[in-house]
C-alpha cells in the first residue's frame, strides 16, 4: 500500500514538473544566438509559397524570408503554415516571423504585430464560368461558391452577399470542384486568380468579371512587443519597394505586376 502511494506521488511530481511553461519569444539577439531565423510561410499557395520536388518551399515569400535571414546573417528555416494556424504559431513563439499571404486587418493587429509599410496587396474576387454571366457581387445570392477554409472573406461573401460558401482545405480540391461544377465560382485573392486564368488551356471558360473588393494590403507579422525586430523588418520592406524587389519577384514567378507593388515602388524609389 505504501509502495503504491509512493509511486503515485512520484508520478504526480513528474506531471507537475512537465507543466508546460512555453518559452518566451526570441528577439534579434536570440535569433542570432540560435543561428537560425524561423519563418512561417505557405506551402500550398503557388506562386507565393509552394513545394519543389526536393521538398523545399520556394516562391515569392520564401525568397523575401531569405533576404531577411541574409540581413541578420543567420540560416533560414521555413515552417509551412495555413491560414488557420499562422497567427497562433507566431503567438506561441514557434516562428519568429510570418510571411504567409495574410491580409492586414484591425482585429489581426490585436493578436500580432503587423509591420508597416505593407509589403503586398491583393483584393478579393471571384473566378466564375463565363456562361454564368455574373456581373456584380449580389448576383451570387443563393449560389454555391467555392473557397479556401480559413479565408476571412468567406464570411463576408456568405453574410453580405448571400452566397453559400463551400470551403475546402486546399486549392487542388477547389479547382477540381470548380471544374466539376460543384460551385459557380471560386472566391480568392485576385492576384492568384489572375495567374490561374492565364492558363487558357484549363481555364478558358472562366473569367473574373466581378469588381475587385477589399483591396487590402497584406502584412507580414512578428510577435506583439517585438518593436526592435519590427523596425528592422520595416526598413527591409522599404528597401524592397525602393529597389523594385517585389516587382522582380512577381515577374520571376509569373505573376502580373500588381498595382499596389507598382505604386509602392514609385513612392519609395526616390527616397
Amino acid at each position: 500500500m505504501f509502495r503504491k502511494l509512493l509511486s503515485l506521488t512520484i508520478a504526480a511530481g513528474f506531471a507537475a514538473a512537465l507543466a508546460a511553461a512555453p518559452a518566451q519569444a526570441d528577439s534579434i539577439n536570440d535569433i542570432k544566438a540560435r543561428g537560425t531565423l524561423i519563418v512561417g510561410v505557405k506551402a500550398d499557395y503557388k506562386p507565393y509559397g509552394f513545394r519543389d520536388p526536393s521538398g523545399a518551399i520556394i516562391g515569392i515569400e520564401p525568397e523575401l524570408a531569405q533576404d531577411v535571414a541574409d540581413k541578420l546573417g543567420v540560416k533560414l528555416e521555413l515552417v509551412p503554415v495555413v491560414s488557420s494556424n499562422r497567427m497562433q504559431f507566431l503567438e506561441q513563439g514557434k516562428i519568429d516571423l510570418m510571411i504567409a499571404t495574410m491580409t492586414d486587418r484591425p482585429d489581426r493587429r490585436k493578436e500580432v504585430l503587423i509591420v508597416d509599410p505593407n509589403y503586398y496587396s491583393s483584393g478579393t474576387n471571384v473566378m466564375s464560368l463565363k456562361s454564368a454571366g455574373l456581373k456584380k457581387w449580389e448576383d451570387l445570392k443563393g449560389k454555391p461558391v467555392c473557397g479556401i477554409q480559413g479565408a476571412f472573406y468567406n464570411k463576408k461573401t456568405q453574410e453580405e452577399f448571400g452566397a453559400e460558401v463551400v470551403a475546402f482545405k486546399g486549392t487542388a480540391e477547389v479547382y477540381t470542384a470548380l471544374k466539376q461544377g460543384l460551385c459557380v465560382g471560386f472566391v480568392y485573392d485576385d492576384s492568384a486568380l489572375i495567374a490561374q486564368l492565364q492558363d487558357v488551356a484549363q481555364w478558358g471558360d472562366y473569367e473574373m468579371s466581378l469588381p475587385t473588393i477589399d483591396d487590402e494590403p497584406w502584412g507580414l507579422a512578428v510577435q506583439l512587443g517585438e518593436d526592435k525586430f519590427a523596425a528592422l523588418i520595416s526598413d527591409m520592406i522599404v528597401g524592397w519597394h525602393k529597389s523594385g524587389r517585389i516587382l522582380e519577384l512577381e515577374k520571376k514567378h509569373g505573376v502580373a505586376n500588381t498595382p499596389f507593388a507598382i505604386a509602392m515602388h514609385e513612392k519609395y524609389k526616390n527616397m
Partner: protein, 288 residues
Amino acid sequence: MIGGTDLPVLLPAAQRLAERVRREREVGAPIPRLQARHGAWIAVILVFSAGAAGAQAGAGQESVLSIMLKWTPLLFQGFIFNLAISFLAMAGGTVVGALLGVWQISLLPPVRAGSWLVTQFFRNAPWLVLLFFCMFLLPFQVRIFGVVIPLPDWIKATFGLALPVMANVSEIVRGAIQSIPSGQWESAESLAFNRRQTLWQIILPQCVKRMLPPWMNLYAILTMATVLASVVGVSEVMTLTGQVLSAEGGRTDLLIPFYSYILLWFFIYCYPIARLTVRLERHFAVKT
C-alpha cells in the same frame, strides 16, 4: 477418398485440394483465397486513371507518370512520417491503456470510477476533435527542470492519436481480463497468490493471446487515422499530396492518380498486417 486419384495428370491439383480441405476442416469454415489480387485492383485503377489523365494532358504538359515519379521521394518521406506516428502512438497508447484497463478492475472505487470515466471519455470523443485539441492547446515546447524540449507538430499529433488508442486498449484489456474464467482467480487465491501476483503472473499472460487480434485491428485503424494529422497541418503524406498538387498548378487530372497512389501505399502496408492478424486469430483461437 480425399485427395486420392489414380489419374496422374490430376495429382498435383489433387494434393493442393487435399491440403486446402484439411486446413478448412481445422478451421471449420471456408478459407478466403488469394486476396493479394485486391491490391492488384487498386493498381489497376491507378494505372487506368493515370493513363486516362495522361491521354487528357495537353501537348506541352508533363506526363502524369513522370510527375508522379518526380514527387515520389517527397511523398515517401511523408509516408514514413505516418508510419512513425502510428508506431509511437500505438506504443504510448498501449502502455497507458494497459494500466488503465487494469485499474478499471481495481478494488478501490475511486480508481475504478476514475479510469472508467477517462476510458469512456476518450472513447466517445471523435479522433479528429482530440487531434485538434492537442495540436492547438499543447505548447510547442516544454521546459522540464530547465531543459527546453521542443514538441514538433508530429509529436503533438502522436499524442493526440495516442489518447483514443489508450482508451481502446483499456477496453480490450478489461474485456480480456473479464473473459478469463473466475476459476483461475479462485485457484490462484487458494494457492496464496495476492491480487497483484495473480494479475501479473496468471491472468495477464493468458489475456495476451485474447488481446492480440483486436489489438492488431486497432493498429490498422490507427494507421488509417494518421491521415487525419493532415487536417491539422502535419507534413504527412496527405498534406504533402495536397501541396504537391498545388505546386503542379492545381491540375485537376492529377487528383485521381495521386490519391490512388497513396491509397496503394496504405494498402500495401496494411494488407499484410490484416493477413497476419487473421493467422494469429486462428493460431490463438481459444478452445472453449
